[in-house]
């Protein structure tokens, strides 16, 4: 805080002078005439907003009393969470009232950058901060190199368009880098190259007869958490629940079947199940079709003539059988995956019996591998084989949310020649390079490769990055290979970090700017879905922030646009005020706060302006929208994409992916090489036709298992608000809600058999090491982890994030150890995903 009234510094009459009346001088106070009500006696109010602690993105309500947020619940109108939240919802109260939040703009005074080097930050005014940033930006434009500017995005709302699209594009940079491939792009790859859907699926738990969860824990993560918590008990009573995961999780602890698969072999297991379903005639014929004469010709190891089979909604099942499935007998699948033959057969028969009301819930655990793209396809292919895709009781796509989109054509009119030319240059993540197909939605280089930015920066390929603005991201903690991120960020001359808490990323920043905690202090909106309902939910400021913080996605670009305009570059200001005029009055925003609300109105107007049927809740105007805080769609229609309406090349569910064949072919043609060469460069083993079908790829391990004998499993705590809840004391107090975890510990789960072999006892402090890094944590002996593997929840191991999260910031000592320090840098090159699953990290464990 700065003294704001100079007269506060003046004293009264000097000592010894006769006493006279002296009015108190005030600096931090003003007179209050409404102060009769005692604290805690004000009635309080439930105010709507949105929780973004995980990617469920729950509509919530927050109870605010006397200006303070005190409780959280689900939004009463929500058909997604039906008024419920998970533990994360409550935990966020300790984020908004975290004393270690950034409170004022600050600048680095020590130019030397590195972990453990004190940046010596000092407070500065907003004006100084914004002027410095604008000056640096103008330097790049004046030098004719706006492409050396990069905008890095972490947690976002759909207001991201302003900071993530409009700002860099009008400025002239192609380097808007999202964090998306840190999350689950390989998972989307699985559903896209089978059913043409590049997104997360919804799951019809109310109607399912068989829930096959693969590589995730729906009651703790993966996008419909409160709905899954509410329904799991009923599903267990009504249906069969099987969970594939090397580590027992909350869902598998209650499930009928637990399949502790050997990490990275999910493709083999999925194909083994498919093999049984096909050889025993258990596939859902109403979706896949049947042999023309009704006689099952699927015999283990034998090819089938395509002409003998007539498919209905799918494409290429015989090709798939012949190329990848026929030889994956349950015996072979068992040998590869470590799941017993009888269990594989039992699962396959159960699925066949329950078909088509089968949910195959595919999570990142089976996808985010170095070679995970085909695992994801293989698992999702079971949704096709059972007819559970886009069907009652199965996995679903989404109902439409008719919000407005970014007006890209209008945006272009604000780009000058420099911006037009340079915003089309190659991106710093090298997407689309020969060894980085990142074929999102069928396009070579169509998806982000977040983790490869480090190589772009370090090698200055395609060019040097001279300025970064990051918002709500912490790539130096959240991406595997943290050592590389630290080196890369230290090499960038000027970095700005907009965030709530100074983190490992901020350690390398030149300016840090205090931002809103999204659930409590921010305007924004997100789109989400669950229980067949698509939802648009608003983030709204339900409390007045304690400190002078700004909204990252809208206020910051607006404020910067004003500064750029002062410096002779008005394009961004003109773009923002024109593109986001108030949709009701046509007025242009005069300040950053007005701009924020106009932007939110612009995007969400079709949900409340009454001009067209939104095919969902009827909302009468903006004020009602804000009061309700959300909109529900009508329920999703089953089988919406049956009848040849899948967005694949064939219009059908593809077991033989013509869509992938085209995409890989496009990438190969671009580089004038064969598809086999693309796969070789992408670290995949498939060659020839195998590249176009869901199949088994041998898991890639980074390290010699003679030296590093355990496979390391990373998973998400149900208390993780991404990597941001570790400065909340409740995180440690309640950590035992994660199966196998112990409160106040960073617990490394080891099977007692393994522990005995290496002389480790429960509670021993141990050092875990991989080829990438090492650190200390506490051994917890637990039968819920597959022998030969060890597991630890992602989240702990911060060396910078606040007093509670870090052991000793000054010495850069972590509290626990960050999984991403242990997991070596690697990626799935086909989807661009960070590789954090599949056990590519192998480790050794030593008693400390």
């Amino acid at each position: 805080m700065k003294i704001k009234r100079r007269d506060f510094l003046k004293l009264g009459a000097a000592a010894g002078v006769a006493a006279t009346i002296r009015k108190p001088t005030l600096n931090a106070f003003a007179k209050d005439d409404g102060g009769k009500i005692a604290a805690g006696e004000l009635p309080g109010e439930w105010k709507p907003s949105t929780c973004q602690g995980c990617t469920t993105w729950c509509p919530v309500e927050i109870f605010v009393q006397d200006g303070r947020a005190v409780k959280v619940r689900g939004n009463r109108y929500s058909k997604q969470n039906e008024g419920n939240v998970c533990p994360r919802g409550h935990l966020s109260l300790q984020q908004v009232y975290d004393p270690d939040r950034i409170k004022v703009p600050m600048k680095r005074t020590n130019p030397k950058k590195g972990r453990g080097i004190d940046p010596k930050f000092v407070p500065i005014s907003w004006d100084e901060a914004l002027n410095t940033i604008a000056d640096k930006m103008m330097e790049l434009r004046n030098a004719g190199e706006p492409e050396t500017f990069s905008l890095m995005r972490g947690r976002y709302t759909y207001m991201r368009d302003v900071i993530y699209d409009v700002m860099p594009k009008v400025f002239g940079s192609p380097n808007n880098i999202s964090h998306s491939s840190t999350c689950a792009e390989a998972e989307k790859f699985g559903s896209y190259y089978t059913e043409g859907y590049w997104s997360y699926r919804d799951y019809d738990l109310d109607k399912t007869k068989y829930l096959l969860v693969w590589g995730c824990d729906p009651v703790s993560s993966n996008r419909m958490v409160p709905a899954a918590i509410k329904r799991l008990g009923d599903v267990i009573d009504r249906a069969t629940v099987a969970v594939v995961d090397p580590k027992m999780n909350n869902t598998s602890a209650k499930a009928h079947e637990w399949l502790p698969v050997l990490p990275g072999t999910d493709g083999a297991l999925a194909l083994g199940i498919a093999h049984v379903m096909l050889t025993e005639g258990l596939w859902y014929k109403g979706f896949v079709g049947d042999f023309k004469d009704g006689k099952n010709r699927f015999e283990s190891g034998k090819e089938v003539e395509e002409a003998t089979f007539e498919e209905k909604e799918s494409y290429g099942v015989i090709k798939w059988w012949n190329i990848a499935v026929k030889d994956m007998s349950p015996k072979k699948a068992a040998e590869l995956s470590g799941i017993p033959v009888d269990q594989i057969i039992r699962i396959a028969r159960g699925l066949g019996k329950a078909a088509p009301n089968v949910c195959v819930w595919m999570g990142p655990g089976c996808a985010m591998h170095v070679r995970g793209a085909y695992s994801a396809m293989a698992v999702h292919a079971l949704a096709g084989l059972t007819g559970g895709t886009d069907n009652e009781g199965g996995s679903l796509q989404t109902a439409k949310i008719p919000v407005n989109k970014l007006n890209k054509e209008l945006l272009k009119t604000f780009q000058d020649d420099l911006a037009k030319k340079h915003s089309k240059m190659k991106k710093i993540d090298q997407r689309g390079y020969l060894n980085l197909p990142a074929i999102s939605k069928g396009k070579s280089g169509g998806g982000v490769v977040t983790n490869n930015v480090v190589h772009g920066i370090l090698n200055k390929d395609p060019y040097a990055i001279k300025m970064i603005i990051g918002y709500m991201n912490n790539f130096a903690f959240s991406c595997n290979g943290t050592d590389l991120w630290e080196k890369a960020l230290a090499s960038v001359p000027f970095t700005v970090h907009l965030t709530t808490n100074a983190s490992e990323f901020s350690q390398f920043a030149d300016i840090v700017l205090p931002c809103v905690v999204n659930k409590y202090e921010k305007y924004g909106f997100v789109k989400t879905k669950a229980n067949r309902y698509a939802t648009c939910t608003l983030l709204q400021p339900v409390i007045k922030p304690v400190w002078d913080v700004i909204t990252d996605e809208t206020e910051f670009p607006f404020l910067i646009s004003e500064k750029l305009k002062e410096r002779g570059f008005p394009n961004l200001y003109d773009a923002l005020t024109t593109m986001y005029a108030d949709p009701e009055t046509g007025k242009k925003a005069k300040n950053a706060k007005e701009f924020t609300e106009y932007t939110l109105k612009y995007y969400t107007a079709p949900l409340w302006d009454g001009k067209k049927d939104s095919h969902g809740d009827k909302i009468n105007g903006w004020e009602e929208m804000k009061k309700r805080g959300m909109w529900n769609s009508d329920p999703y229609e089953y089988k919406k994409h049956w009848g040849g309406k899948y967005k694949t090349k064939t219009g059908r569910f593809e077991f033989y992916s013509e869509t992938l064949k085209k995409a890989l072919g496009g990438h190969a043609d671009k580089h004038n090489v064969s598809i086999d060469k693309v796969l070789e460069e992408s670290n995949y083993t498939a060659r020839g036709e195998l590249a176009f079908v869901p199949h088994y790829e041998p898991p890639h391990r980074n390290g010699d298992m003679k030296e590093y004998p355990f496979v390391f499993i990373d998973y998400k705590s149900r208390l993780n608000r991404e990597g941001r809840s570790q400065n909340c004391p409740w995180y440690y107090e309640f950590k035992h809600v994660d199966p196998g975890d112990v409160s106040h510990q960073d617990s490394l789960k080891i099977n007692p058999i393994d522990a005995k072999n290496i002389g480790i006892k429960d509670g021993d402090k141990v050092r875990i090491s991989s080829i990438a890094g090492s650190g200390e944590c506490v051994a917890h002996l637990w039968e819920g982890i597959r022998p030969g593997t060890v597991a630890k929840a992602y989240g702990q191991g911060h060396w910078a994030y606040g007093n509670t999260a870090a052991a000793n910031y000054a010495k850069a000592e972590e509290r626990g150890i960050n999984n991403n320090t242990i997991i070596p840098w690697d990626i799935d090159r086909l989807s661009g995903s960070n590789a954090r699953n599949g056990g590519h990290a192998v480790v050794k464990i030593e008693k400390v």
Partner: protein, 226 residues
């Protein structure tokens, strides 16, 4: 009466200048207003135990550059990475080291009773704000004595004692210890000793019991890191 008024006014000024030192160090302003010397002179009269530390603050100030003062101030009270000496009462008085705790709401209530509301962007129980509040109460008390308004004097005395007893004095000792643990900056080390001695002396005069340690058992937040 005159001596009482003077004493209250001097105490009011002492609290005000103590408050100033917990804002960002703007040395040019301090120098223009001769803040440090004035503070030292005041404490000579109001708090003999705190006076030596105030003198040290004066004597040592010029040894430390302005930028170093800013860096050390930020590390102690602002961040951005962690607060070495969190300047908020609730950190010491409530469970779980959060701002805007129940103790903060109690502080707000006392402000309200005195007819004030916080007019800066920070938590209401920031040390600078609480010290300013003491300045306000002593000022009004002096005014009441001078004006012969016994009812107001009694009310202010009661409010001041209540605030000191239930809020400020309850956390200032562990706070000062955090400052001393968190920095080698002699100015802030002396400021911590000065504040601690000053509050102790005031409290003794008012028969207020000082809290030496954090009040609740913060067992959940203070587990040794692993």
């Amino acid at each position: 009466m005159t001596s009482t008024v003077t004493k209250y006014q001097q105490l009011a000024d002492s609290f005000k200048l103590l408050s100033v030192f917990f804002y960002e160090p703007e040395m040019h302003l301090w120098e223009q207003e001769d803040i440090l010397n004035q503070f030292s002179l005041l404490l000579q009269k109001t708090s003999p135990n705190a006076f030596p530390f105030a003198q040290q603050m004066c004597d040592n100030r010029e040894q430390i550059g302005e930028e170093q003062m800013q860096v050390d101030y930020a590390a102690l009270f602002v961040g951005p990475f962690e607060l070495l000496a969190a300047p908020y009462g609730s950190i010491y008085l409530d469970m779980n080291k959060q701002i805007m705790g129940d103790s903060t709401m109690a502080v707000l209530q006392v402000y309200r009773e005195a007819g004030l509301k916080v007019d800066v962007r920070d938590a209401p129980d920031h040390i600078a704000i609480e010290l300013e509040f003491m300045h306000y109460l002593y000022s009004l008390e002096a005014e009441a004595v001078l004006g012969g308004d016994h009812e107001q004097e009694t009310r202010m005395t009661s409010l001041r004692t209540h605030f000191l007893n239930t809020c400020l004095a309850q956390w200032v000792q562990p706070f000062c210890q955090s400052i001393k643990n968190g920095t080698n900056n002699v100015f802030y080390v002396n400021l911590a000793d000065c504040l601690k001695a000053f509050i102790a002396e005031i409290s003794e005069a008012d028969s207020v019991t000082l809290q030496e340690h954090n009040l609740p058992l913060q067992e959940n937040a203070d587990q040794p890191p692993v």
